[in-house]
């Protein structure tokens, strides 16, 4: 079922949790709502579910306005951050809870639960109580409970927030498979940008109750619409400088910025892997000192300091790192091969930027 939200606003007293948000979740889509804590993403989810009443705006599920429908009339499944399993009920009874309320007959319930336990890889655990399960199992029970009455929409609030990193990884892959199998329209909230990237088909980025950007993981990563998105998604070096003669000057670094008037302060962002570092001081034009080397498993991160005191991060794959023989404290040369001029905070996605266009282009070293 398609979900559509128009001008959704929710205020608590004088605080605005969600300020006029509009977006669409397409039929069968797995969409991630991403944002730092306090950005209003959970409130959006609760508003769609009907657990909160919107201050303004409309919610449509399958083209029908559902503002005045109660939670159960909306036919949604909701997975809570802390599982919210009923402690005094067994796994079986937890999953059967919604079905009993809907007055399914006994045989149908048994059949549905056997089916769900198999789907969730929870066979044989039906008789256990929640406290006898691991975190990952509990979360799967919670998802099974939400799915049991065949909801038209599945809403998940930080579904993997409370389990450890390894289990989280397994659950993510499992969720993607589950979604492929069931193809139920799903919306999940996360503050973990990696999780959002990996799991969702599309991401909506929130900040302070506002929608910052909606798009595919690649769009959001490669073409952040706002400075916030650029800072929040992935790692990015961000420097500020004043425009002089069509160039943003940051110490000895210069970034072409045609079309901007002199004296304007601009923020320039570039990903760590666009910072090339060499031990030969003559290889690139810019000079710096190597401050720190971090081993990340799949790659290395170098922290360098320019003579002006700027600290930049660079990312280097293992092969390349092994060819060079870096020692902390040595002089290196570097170049920034690709950059973007970031839209100003609060100005919104006013600057339409594509890689290769004048304001986001490769630099010749």
């Amino acid at each position: 079922m398609k979900i559509e939200v128009r001008g959704l606003t929710k205020t608590f007293g004088s605080a605005t949790a969600v300020g006029g948000v509009s977006f669409v979740v397409n039929e069968g889509e797995l969409l991630g709502l991403l944002g730092p804590s306090g950005s209003g993403k959970t409130t959006v989810l609760r508003l769609i579910a009907g657990l909160e009443v919107p201050t303004a705006g409309d919610i449509f599920i399958d083209g029908k306005r559902v503002n005045d429908l109660t939670v159960q009339e909306r036919n949604i499944g909701f997975v809570f951050q802390h599982y919210a399993l009923f402690k005094h009920l067994t796994v079986f009874d937890n999953i059967a809870f919604g079905l009993k309320i809907k007055k399914w007959n006994r045989r149908d319930i048994d059949q549905r639960i056997t089916e769900l336990l198999a789907l969730m890889s929870l066979e044989g655990l039906g008789g256990r109580y929640p406290h006898q399960l691991s975190g990952g199992q509990r979360q799967r029970v919670a998802i099974a409970r939400a799915l049991a009455p065949r909801p038209s929409v599945l809403l998940m609030d930080e579904p993997f927030g409370a389990v450890d990193a390894k289990v989280r990884q397994e659950l993510r892959e499992w969720l993607i498979r589950l979604h492929t199998d069931l193809n139920v329209t799903s919306l999940f909230v996360t503050h973990d940008q990696e999780e959002a990237m990996e799991v969702s088909g599309r991401i909506i980025v929130f900040s302070k109750g506002k929608l910052e950007q909606a798009g595919s993981p690649a769009d959001v990563y490669e073409e952040p619409a706002t400075e916030f998105v650029a800072r929040f998604i992935g790692s990015m070096n961000i420097v500020a400088g004043v425009v002089r003669h069509g160039q943003v000057q940051v110490g000895s670094l210069e970034f072409p910025a045609p079309g901007f008037s002199d004296g304007q302060t601009l923020q320039v962002g570039f990903r760590p892997y666009y910072v090339k570092v060499a031990e030969d001081p003559a290889r690139y034009r810019q000079q710096a000192k190597l401050r720190h080397i971090y081993f990340l498993g799949v790659a290395y991160r170098l922290e360098i300091e320019t003579p002006d005191g700027l600290i930049l991060r660079s990312r280097m794959n293992k092969e390349e790192f092994r060819r060079c023989h870096f020692t902390v404290g040595q002089a290196v040369s570097f170049a920034v091969t690709h950059f973007r001029i970031l839209p100003q905070e609060g100005a919104g996605p006013a600057i339409e930027a594509k890689p290769g266009s004048p304001i986001a282009g490769p630099l010749t070293p």
Binding site: F78, F86, T265
Partner: protein, 373 residues
């Protein structure tokens, strides 16, 4: 502080250059901030902030410098900054890009009357919330009366066991001791006048009418009221209440009504039990200290203590029960966010329910006195 770094300072040279020196870091930048606030900027002139002398800089320093810059510009000066190191300039641009948000986030200081109004508004909102809860509970009760099959018997009986049966030992012990204490205190006075037998009136009437119902209510407020707040609050924190709602169940019907009903049954029973043990305590002391035998005590009890005293005491108990259960559950629903909130609201529930119980009791006493009961 590092002695190579100078104290932060500013000076206005020839009305054209503001020379900034030293460490502009928190908290040492404070004197500079005061100096800048007092500074009279030369009207409508070109001003240079000569910042090469700044040896250390943090966002605190950047805020001070930026504020001075804005102030000078506001007064019509043409201001430029010179010699600020690039990394410090980066801090400055960070501060400037977040300036509007920062200013907006610092709440303006409220004066007395504004604070007063805000607290009144807050109270009114709280009162409205409590009324809403009361209304919802009442409508749930009406629904229940209309179709009694909706009642969660199992939950009621469980509550009855936990809040009634399990409270018997402590309620019994405490009212017994209260009976002992009252009899001791009375014995001192009565012996002086040789009116030992009146110990029966003293113990009987005060316990049956006031003390036993109050002690039972206060104990239950501490035992069960707080437990209700904590149970419901925990369910709220773990989102179990929301989960119930997504399945179309009303938390009030499911959690509040069984508890209220169980307590309405349990508290009068506990009060009757407390009556018995309290009087027994008084009786022990009477025979021990005042030579009033058990038989003398009981025969005097029959003629001195009217039935209405016991009925009044027992009649108040269901009302106490409603107050305690509703306050406990209401405070449970009030819990937002975290675990520390559970503790806070549990405490509030005990204080509020005891407070309301005593207020209600006092009103009863006054009214009953008017009607000569």
């Amino acid at each position: 502080m590092d002695d190579r770094v100078q104290q932060a300072a500013v000076s206005l040279v020839e009305g054209r250059t503001l020379r900034c020196r030293g460490a502009w870091t928190m908290p040492d930048v404070a004197p500079v901030e005061r100096a800048l606030r007092r500074m009279t900027w030369p009207a409508r002139s070109a001003l240079v902030f000569e910042a090469s002398g700044i040896e250390a800089f943090d966002t605190g320093g950047a805020v001070v410098l930026y504020r001075a810059l804005m102030e000078a510009r506001r007064q019509g000066c043409e201001v430029s900054i010179q010699g600020l190191r690039p990394d410090y300039a980066q801090l400055m641009s960070l501060v400037s890009s977040h300036w509007a948000a920062m200013v907006a986030e610092v709440a303006p200081r409220q004066n007395g009357s504004e604070r007063f109004r805000a607290s009144i508004r807050n109270r009114v909102a709280q009162g409205a919330g409590a009324l809403e809860f009361l209304g919802e509970s009442a409508t749930a009760l009406v629904r229940l009366v209309a179709s009694p099959r909706r009642l969660r018997w199992r939950s009621c009986l469980n509550s009855l066991r936990l809040d009634g049966v399990h409270a018997l030992p402590i309620t019994g012990l405490l009212t017994f001791l209260i009976g002992v204490v009252i009899a001791y205190q009375g014995a001192e006075q009565l012996r002086k006048f040789g009116t030992n037998i009146f110990i029966v009136d003293l113990v009987g009437i005060s316990l049956l009418r006031e003390i036993a119902p109050l002690i039972a209510a206060i104990l239950i407020a501490g035992r069960s009221g707080s437990a209700y707040a904590a149970q419901i609050g925990t369910m709220k924190v773990t989102e179990e209440l929301d989960a119930l709602q997504t399945f179309g169940l009303s938390p009030i019907e499911l959690l509040v009504l069984p508890r209220v009903l169980a307590l309405v049954v349990a508290l009068p029973l506990l009060t009757a039990y407390a009556d018995v043990l309290g009087v027994f305590g008084g009786m022990l002391i009477a025979s021990n200290q005042l030579n009033v035998s058990f038989t003398a005590f009981l025969s005097r009890f029959e003629e001195a203590v009217a039935l209405r005293h016991m009925l009044i005491g027992l009649g108040k108990a269901p009302f106490f029960a409603v107050i305690i259960a509703l306050v406990g559950c209401y405070q449970g629903f009030q819990i937002r966010g975290g675990v520390d909130d559970v503790g806070r609201h549990t405490t509030i529930s005990v204080v509020q329910s005891i407070f309301l119980v005593i207020i209600f009791d006092a009103i009863c006493s006054i009214l009953l006195n008017w009607w000569n009961l």
